[in-house]
Every structure is written in C-alpha cells, then in structure tokens.
C-alpha cells in the first residue's frame, strides 16, 4: 500500500467497517471503486489490477466536509496556500472545504474563484470558495453575488467581520434568497467587541486583558435572526460560541426561521482560562468562552440546534503569533486535529453518537452549502474518509501538513485519526 497522493482506475478498500447512516450501511466489508465510481460493496475476490488499501480495523465514512476554513491564498501565502491547506485537509480526513473570502484580493470576483479552484486541481479535496457579501469585504455595497453564483458559489460571507450593517444584511438575505444561496455570518457587534482579545469574564479581569463579551455575539445573531425572518432569506451563523447564542438559534428554529449554525472543535473543548499563559495560540475570534458555554454548545449539537461542526482553520505565521497577546492575530489551526478531537472528547466518551458526527461533519454542512449529498452506495462517485478509530496519537505541530503551526492542541493525546481520503480516482493515504 502506497502512502501519499495517488490515482488509480481501480481502488479496493478491504475489510473496513463501512458506515453510512444515510443508507443504513454498517458492516465490515470491501469496497470496489472503478473509474472513480463505487461499483460494488461486498466481499470481493482478490484482484491484481487494483490499488488495494487494507482497511482492517478502520472505519470508512462519507467524505468529511469542512464548511469554514481560511486558505490565505491569494495574498498571504506565507501562512498557507490552497495546496498546503488542501494537504492539511486531506491529512485531517476532509474531501471538501469551503474557504472564506477574507483573502487579498478578497473573493468578490469570478477571477479569484477560478484561481483558487485551479490551485486545488489534481487533489482529492474539493475547494468551494465562499464569496464576499460586500465588495472588497468593505461593508459598503453588495458584491456581484449573481456573477459569483454563476461560478458555482453557493455561500456568501464577510467572515473575519460581520456584515457591517443591518441594512446590508437585509439586502444580502433578500438578494441571495433568489438563487438559494446562504449568507454565512460572523456574528460580532464591533462597538461591543473592539479591542477585546478574550472572553469578557472573571478570567479576563484576572489576566488584565480587554474583554470581548458574549453579548457582542448574541446581539448580532438576534439582529440577523430578525432579518432572516423578515426577508425569508437563509442565514447561517458561523462559529457559535456562547450559551446565549445557542438559545437564540434554538428559539429561531422553533419558530421556523431559516437559520443554521456551526460550532468549532475548539469552542467545544477549550475555555478562556487557558489564556492564563498569554499564549496567542489560544487567541481566536470569537474567543474561547466558559465551560458552561461549551456545555451548551454540545447540547445544541446534540439536539440539532447547531447543525454542523466546522474548524475555522486559521493559519498564521509564527512571527506574527509570537508577539504580545494584544497584537497577535486571531485564529488557530483546525483541519488536522478536528476529527481526532471530536472522536476523543465526545465519541469515545459516548457523549456524541458516531452517527451524529457523520451528520455534523459531512451531511449537514453539504446540505447548508447547497451541495449534493455524499453517500456510500453503488453508482455514487467515490467520496470517502478512512479513519483508524482506535489509533492513539499525540498532536505534534511540527509534523503537520499546514504551513503554519498555531494549533492549541499541540501535545494533546488523542484516540482516532484520519488515515486517508478517496475522491473519485484520486486518493491520499497517511
């Protein structure tokens, strides 16, 4: 079995537990992929002309999809490029990523969309650029959303910042509604959060660091929910981080408003007290909150208030992060640790069913982004993630595929990790 990138007309995955709750599949068996399409699922006789992947002890699931990553290209290639970001995605078990438009230039024209897609050709990862809501992400006028939609862009966001005004958000929701696109909101009210570097809390008071209060997120979500209800547009709240936000979204869903939400592995597992070391790898936007918030996020994930898990993978160069905390940029890596962290902290501890993990990391994000579902069934294009659920490993930031090393999970002992991905005829094996 070859490790690394490869391409083959015939691929056989042998003896793995194949798990796809969407089609009621859960058994140890073989999968045959011919010309990029699953041709049969069942015990196969040995074949010479195939790339054989021994999947003994492994889990094969529909390809994971991360609906929120930052690939930094164009403009900040010293942090990450589309290709290094894709390498991190493959290593983390993702076959698809949606990349946020806060690049330089931002993703507000067809040319940038095409450029990014071209960088990712020939890899078993599909890159879906998210378009800007406003031209240049400047928060003044709407971007040419229809023109971007022609390029296949299905989601729009000014991520890194909220859609600047209620008026613009109203227009964006109205405009996008026609094409069925979704507006992805980075919920933050700047007049409440400006200067804040961590969650406003007992901890920020103790550490003498300017606070970014929970209400700074919640007030923006409340605004957007009201606008989604008024316009009938589709709203998606990125990286929900507070208990109050979960309650707002739960209530909005109960009332039938078209709102969805995502949560990150770091908001589920880390809290603001970690800033006691002033280590900028813990500086993220929205900030790490309190354990009661993390608990509420998990509850929201379990009851469906929060639809998806997304990483908000945000690479930054070491010299930009290795500074005083107030000057360091926000953001942490996520692609390579997400699966391991969720498996270790929630699935292995029986707090999250494996079925819900698959739902939150592949089914829901694709649905929200308006992409066709990925299923493991004969006739479907191969789109698979291979997982070693019982492999123990230690996160080592020097061994990652990302160009940057700003992970807060460095040194964590995890159980379960991605072993590879297959997308059509292309595959990657760790």
């Amino acid at each position: 079995m070859k490790v690394g990138l490869g391409e083959a007309d015939r691929i056989v995955v042998r003896g793995a537990r194949v798990f796809d709750p969407q089609v009621g599949l859960d058994r140890v068996t073989d999968i045959l992929i011919e010309d990029g399409v699953i041709s049969s699922i069942g015990d196969l006789s040995p074949s010479q002309q195939a790339q054989v992947i021994s999947g003994k002890g492994w889990l094969v699931v529909p390809g994971l999809y991360d609906m929120h990553v930052h690939l930094r290209e164009p403009g900040q290639e010293h942090k990450e490029t589309v290709r290094t970001g894709c390498a991190a995605a493959m290593a983390g078990g993702f076959t698809g990523v949606a990349c946020m438009p806060n690049t330089d230039p931002p993703i507000d024209s067809p040319g940038v969309v095409r450029f990014i897609r071209e960088q990712a050709t020939g890899l078993p990862v599909e890159v879906y650029p998210v378009g800007c809501v406003t031209k240049g992400r400047a928060g003044k006028t709407l971007a040419d959303m229809a023109e971007l939609a022609v390029e296949g862009v299905t989601a729009f966001s000014d991520d890194g910042a909220p859609v600047a005004t209620a008026g613009l958000m109203r227009r964006a929701l109205e405009y996008a509604a026609k094409s069925g696109a979704v507006i992805v909101e980075h919920a933050e009210e700047p007049s409440l959060t400006s200067g804040g570097v961590m969650h406003e809390s007992a901890a920020s008071t103790r550490f003498g660091l300017p606070g970014w209060p929970a209400v700074g997120e919640e007030i923006c979500i409340a605004r957007d929910i009201a606008l989604a209800e008024y316009t009938g547009g589709r709203l998606h709240i990125a990286h929900v981080s507070t208990a109050g936000s979960v309650a707002l979204i739960r209530e909005a869903k109960r009332r039938g408003i078209a709102v969805t939400a995502e949560v990150t592995p770091h908001h589920l597992t880390l809290t603001c007290e970690l800033l006691s070391t002033y280590d900028s790898d813990y500086k993220v936007n929205p900030p790490l909150r309190e354990s009661r918030d993390s608990e509420a996020l998990l509850e929201g994930l379990l009851d469906g208030t929060i639809d998806a898990i997304a990483t908000d993978h945000a690479p930054h160069a070491r010299d930009e992060k290795e500074v005083e905390l107030i000057s360091a940029p926000f953001g942490m890596l996520g692609l390579e640790t997400a699966l391991g962290v969720i498996l270790t902290k929630f699935v292995q501890t029986n707090r999250l069913p494996l079925e819900r993990l698959i739902d939150a990391m592949t089914v829901q994000p694709r649905r929200i982004m308006g992409l066709p579902p990925v299923r493991i069934e004969p006739g479907a294009r191969a789109n698979l993630t291979l997982i070693a659920p019982n492999e123990d490993w230690v996160v080592d930031r020097s061994q990652q595929s990302s160009k940057s090393i700003n992970t807060p999970f460095h040194g964590w002992e995890l159980r379960g990790r991605a072993k590879g991905v297959i997308l059509g005829q292309q595959y990657y094996l760790a």
Binding site: E200, S201, A202, S204, T205, R206, F207, G208, L209, P210, G211, P213, S276, T277, Y278, D319, E320, E322, V323, E324, L325, I326, S327, A328
Partner: protein, 319 residues
C-alpha cells in the same frame, strides 16, 4: 496563575505577578525589604549582595519613577545594570519583542526587569529566556513590586495586613496596581473593597475576592486605608467617563471626604498624581498621606525582590 507557582522562596525564579504567589513568600519579601530599608539609611547605602550579577532594565513604556527605583535598587545591591528605553519608538511591536528575546539571550544577562504596555509580556519572556524576569508593570495586568511596596507601607503604618480594610479607588479595570494590590492584600488576609465609576469597575470583579463600595463616602467610612489610583485622562476620550469634572465630583478624594468619614485613614497613591482630579493637594500633602514613604519603600522592596530571586541562586552557585 502559573501552574508551577513556587511554594518556597528558593523556588522563586521570576516575579511575574502576585496572583497565586504564596503568602509566605510575600511575607519573606516584606521582611527582607525591612532589612534593606535600614541599609538605605546607612552613610554608604550599598551592599555587595549582587556583585557580578547583570540586570537589564527594559522599559517599553515610559515610567521614570519605576525605572529610577529599580536602577537604584540594583546599584544598592552592587549589580551591573544596562538600561534600555524603547518608549515611543515606532518599530513594529512583534519584531521588537522577538528581537528583545534574542538580544537578551545573546547578552546572557542574569535578570530582566521589564515594563511593557501589553499584558502578559513578562510571561511571554519568561517562557523563552533563561534569565529571571521581573515584571515592572505589564499593560492592565500586574505591577507586583508596586503592589508589594503598597503592602509594605501599609504594614509599616498599620502594623498588620491581616484584617486590614483597604479601599482601592478609581479606574480598577485598567489598573495593574489595583490587580497586584488585590491579589497581594487578599492573599495576606486583608479585606479589600473597590470604588469607582461603574464603567471602570471590571465585570466579575467579585471573583477576585473583593467587594464593590457603592460610593466613596460609604467606602471611606469602612476602610483603614485608601489607595487612590491615577486616572488615565484618555479614559474620557474612550467614553468611559463623561468628564473630568464629573469624575472629580464623585470619586476625587478631598479633605471633606476624609472629614466626613471621621476616622484616621492612611492615604496611598502610586503616582504620578493628577492633583485636583483623583486627589486634592491638601490630602496628598496632608497628615495621613504616606505617598513619599511609598517611594522610599519602593527601592527597599525592589532590592528584596531582586535579592530573593538572584541572591539565592548565587549562594547555591558558590556552595
């Protein structure tokens, strides 16, 4: 609070803050400062305790007083010193800090006294260099030697810290002096209340073990000592207080306030003062003011901190 907080003064490698510092170590520092205070009264106020030790004073933010106080403390202990002031320079912050780390490593100094406008910079340095790091004020976080000298002064004036009632008055949210006082005083058994405009009282301040006094008169009736903080005039531009006049009326410490409280209240101020704003001149220069004593004590306390961190190591080295 550092995980590896020293329990014994021999484990004291840095002075990053008073948060989590063992009360026994604080008491030992105060006692040591007492003996150094006597040294300062000698005809030749100098001891050889840190001969051969090199201390770098790195001041990334203006503070003539603290810097002079540290430099004097180092000289009184016979240490070699170099000083660097980068305040006002326009170099990119990140570069400066990393360059600083590399330079300190290359110079092989024994200790770094650092003042920086960003919270946590001393912690950042202590994780990356071998030298001892002494926090001379970091952002809105801590100013541990100021806290210790305030506590030293209170102990000398009032004879005790345990059970003492201390009111901290002014901008609590942005004050490193307030934090170090709160951490140190509460750890040593004092009772602390804070008082100031609601916009300058940090949320969850009670989690630090203090109460909020609803107004100045109430606080003064309660306390044995009041520590008046300097008001940064920029807070007005940030919209945190409506006007200086408004602040002065509600929270400026005047003789009338002290008379109304009708008890002897020790008055501290870390300096420099905005006379007529947070404190009136007749209070600052009045009979209960210990503001100049604080300055003298500052040298002794800093000598004690330097000696306890750097002196032990040398003794072990010699042994």
């Amino acid at each position: 609070m550092p995980d590896s907080a020293p329990r014994d003064s021999r484990e004291l490698r840095h002075m990053l803050g008073l948060d989590g510092l063992a009360p026994a170590i604080m008491t030992e520092i105060l006692d040591t400062a007492g003996t150094f205070l006597e040294v300062l009264d000698r005809p030749i106020p100098k001891v050889p305790s840190l001969r051969g030790v090199t201390v770098a004073n790195l001041f990334f933010e203006n503070s003539t007083r603290t810097r002079l106080s540290f430099e004097l403390a180092e000289k009184r202990l016979s240490a070699d010193t170099v000083s660097f002031s980068a305040a006002g320079s326009s170099v990119s912050k990140g570069e400066t800090l990393l360059d600083t780390v590399r330079n300190i490593e290359a110079m092989k100094v024994d200790a770094v006294v650092i003042r920086h406008g960003a919270s946590g910079v001393p912690h950042f340095l202590s994780q990356r260099i071998d030298a001892a790091v002494i926090n001379a004020g970091d952002g809105t976080h801590e100013h541990p030697t100021q806290g210790l000298l305030d506590i030293f002064t209170l102990r000398k004036e009032c004879g005790r810290i345990e059970g003492l009632k201390v009111l901290i008055l002014g901008d609590i949210a942005h004050s490193r002096v307030a934090r170090s006082n709160i951490f140190g005083l509460t750890a040593l058994g004092a009772e602390v209340k804070v008082c100031g405009p609601a916009t300058l009282i940090p949320r969850n301040v009670e989690s630090l073990g203090v109460e909020v006094a609803s107004d100045l008169d109430e606080g003064l009736k309660w306390c044995d000592a009041v520590n008046v903080l300097r008001l940064q005039l920029e807070r007005m531009n940030q919209g945190l207080i409506p006007s200086l006049r408004d602040y002065q009326r509600q929270f400026g410490l005047t003789r009338e306030h002290l008379e109304r409280a009708d008890r002897e209240i020790v008055v501290l101020h870390p300096g420099p003062m905005n006379r007529g704003v947070e404190i009136d001149s007749d209070v600052a220069d009045g009979p209960f003011s210990v503001i100049l004593e604080q300055v003298t004590h500052g040298v002794a306390v800093r000598m004690a901190v330097l000696f306890m961190i750097l002196g032990h190591e040398r003794e072990e080295g010699r042994g």
